[in-house]
Amino acid sequence: AQTVTQSQPEMSVQEAETVTLSCTYDTSESDYYLFWYKQPPSRQMILVIRQEAYKQQNATENRFSVNFQKAAKSFSLKISDSQLGDAAMYFCAYRSEGADKLIFGTGTRLQVFP
C-alpha cells in the first residue's frame, strides 16, 4: 500500500522569504501523480500544484515549485516570496495512475510572519 509522510508538523517563514515543505512517499508503482493542497482556516482544500511521475521536469505555478526526486521518492514544495495569505495547512497527496482516490500525508502547518 502507498503511504505519504510529511515529517514537519509546523514550519514558519518571514514574509518575502522562501520556505520548503518536505514530503516523502512509498510506492512500488512507476506511474502516479503527486499533489500539494493548501487548506486555510476556511477549510477549503485548494490545489496548489501537481506533478506527473513520468515527467522529469519539476512543476511550477507562479511562486510555487516542487523538487521531485523519483528515485528518492521525495516531493518537496518550495514557496518563494512568501505572503501572509500563504499561511495554511499544506497537505501532500499521492494518486495512482488509473485510480482516483488520493492518499494524504498528515500535513504541515505553515505560519508566515510579517
Binding site: F35, S42, R43, M45, L47, D100, K101, L102, F104, T106
Partner: protein, 113 residues
C-alpha cells in the same frame, strides 16, 4: 476545473440523530468521493460514489453508518447515521476531472453533542 457546493456548511447535532450532506457539482463527473477530516487530522477517504451503482467503502467505513446516494452525474449525498461525538469532523466531497485533477467542495463541519 469543477465548482462544487455542499450543504449544509456546518451543523450541530444531537447524539443518536442522522445528518444528510449534499454535494452538487457544476459539471457531469463519473466519480465522486467523500472524505472525512477529524479535528487536527488529515483527510481519510470514506467511499467512492459511482452513478448507478453501489458506493465502494474504504476499510473501517460501512454502509449502515455512512449511506451514500448518487442519483445522477452531478449530485451525491452522504448520511452520517446514529451520530456520536466521535463523528464530529469536517466532511468533504470531491471529484476527479480529466487530466488527473481532483477538486474539493468547501466541506461540512459537523459537531455532535
Amino acid at each position: 476545473s469543477a465548482v462544487i457546493s455542499q450543504k449544509p456548511s456546518r451543523d450541530i447535532c444531537q447524539r443518536g440523530t442522522s445528518l444528510t450532506i449534499q454535494c452538487q457539482v457544476d459539471s457531469q463527473v463519473t466519480m465522486m468521493f467523500w472524505y472525512r477530516q477529524q479535528p487536527g487530522q488529515s483527510l481519510t477517504l470514506i467511499a467512492t460514489a459511482n452513478q448507478g451503482s453501489e458506493a465502494t467503502y474504504e476499510s473501517g467505513f460501512v454502509i449502515d453508518k455512512f449511506p451514500i446516494s448518487r442519483p445522477n452525474l452531478t449530485f451525491s449525498t452522504l448520511t452520517v447515521s446514529n451520530m456520536s461525538p466521535e463523528d464530529s469532523s469536517i466532511y468533504l466531497c470531491s471529484v476527479s476531472v480529466s487530466g488527473g485533477l481532483t477538486f474539493f467542495g468547501p466541506g461540512t463541519r459537523l459537531t455532535v453533542l
